[in-house]
């Protein structure tokens, strides 16, 4: 006789910081329940000391990224039924990998954004408001390359998924390099030499082994692997016709 779906969900949540342990909770099972729903329920009804982050809860901001059953995901966009192979499996929720744990499910993302900065993942232009706006053809190959990677919201899922980040503490990581690629292809940017110098080395694109975890896990279906391959093809030279 097949067993009915249990009415409670077994959840295992990381408590502590870099040192700590998993704590078990039983949460009422509901239809259309996301992992974020589960975390919110625990904090509001079972243990008010649980620390975690979320904001939009509709898959736009990336704040709720955590490690769910071993894989980095946005918890607001992850249905519990999608991660549990059997109804009475345990749902394991942990903070993102490769970042210091502040408390429980919240990580310190300073290092992630520092590497973004180190990859020159920020725009520098030369026009002022007094000049006309730059004209960029959206159909040009360079702009298409930018558009393919520009939707990144810095959620950290790719960084948490990349084993090279784990193995090489200097590795800038897929998000920073993806952003650098979009800027390499930005015809208005004026720091191409510095950017290419920052990413054409072992801290940058040369350490990518095409593991592909970033591309597999990106919740926005971006392909940092593609961007990093593009950086590799630059061969240490700024793009043709670069402003700087």
């Amino acid at each position: 006789m097949p067993s009915a779906t249990p009415t409670t969900l077994k959840v295992s949540v990381w408590r502590g910081a870099d040192e700590g342990e998993f704590q078990r909770f039983d949460v009422p099972r509901m239809e259309s329940q996301t992992v974020l729903d589960v975390v919110i329920h625990i904090q509001r009804h079972l243990d008010a000391t649980l620390s975690y982050r979320f904001a939009c809860r509709v898959g736009m901001c990336g704040s709720c990224a955590m490690t769910v059953n071993g894989r980095a995901r946005w918890t607001c966009r992850t249905h519990v039924t999608k991660v549990l192979r059997h109804a009475d499996d345990v749902l394991e929720i942990a903070p993102l990998n490769h970042l210091p744990v502040v408390k429980d499910l919240a990580t310190d993302m300073t290092g992630f954004f520092d590497k973004w900065r180190d990859a020159k993942g920020y725009f520098a232009g030369q026009r002022t408001r007094a000049e006309p706006a730059a004209r960029v053809d959206p159909a040009s190959p360079a702009r298409k390359a930018v558009d393919a990677g520009i939707e990144c919201i810095g959620c950290g899922v790719c960084y948490a998924s990349c084993d090279v980040v784990a193995w090489n503490p200097d590795y800038l990581g897929p998000a920073a390099l993806n952003r650098a690629w979009t800027l390499v292809n930005d015809v208005r940017d004026t720091q191409q030499q510095a950017r290419v110098a920052a990413i054409s080395n072992d801290a940058g694109c040369h350490s990518c082994h095409t593991l592909g975890s970033c591309t597999e896990r990106c919740p926005k279906s971006l392909a940092p692997t593609a961007s990093i391959a593009g950086l590799k093809r630059l061969n240490g030279k700024a793009p043709q016709g670069a402003l700087e």
Binding site: S161, V165, A229
Partner: protein, 138 residues
């Protein structure tokens, strides 16, 4: 200074021996085709790197003339040796096809993680290994 500032200062000071902070992925995160392709590529490369010096040394015994070379070749007819040889041919084929996949990803326009070539790596290695085994035994 907040606790975070202290830990950053400590991190910067220990730059030479630094490790990536935080938790690590386990097999659940690595269970996808491109990751297996990486692992096969790295491990086959390692095995070949270990084998290559022995291969060069063995062939170099021919410097002592055909008789010395022949007595070495007698060793190569041992079953364990033949099995190892087959294994290395298979690994070489896998490393070759997997490597071609990487060169295509890095030098050609993006067309995904090329999972068809991951399949071709497995299939091609199998076929070449079989061809070698058949050639040896038939």
């Amino acid at each position: 200074m907040s606790e975070l500032d202290v830990s950053h200062a400590n991190g910067a000071a220990a730059a030479g021996r630094r490790k990536t902070p935080g938790r690590r992925a386990d097999a659940r995160a690595r269970n996808h085709p491109a990751w297996w392709a990486f692992l096969v590529h790295r491990l086959s490369g390692l095995a070949l790197a270990v084998f290559l010096p022995m291969h060069f040394w063995a062939l170099g015994t021919a410097l002592h003339g055909a008789a010395a070379f022949d007595s070495f070749l007698a060793v190569t007819r041992q079953p364990a040796f033949v099995f190892a040889e087959w294994g290395l041919v298979t690994l070489l084929a896998a490393h070759l096809i997997g490597g071609v996949r990487l060169l295509l990803i890095e030098y050609r326009p993006w067309s995904g993680l090329r999972k068809d070539l991951i399949a071709a790596t497995a299939g091609g290695a199998l076929v070449i290994g079989l061809a070698f085994a058949l050639s040896l035994t038939l």
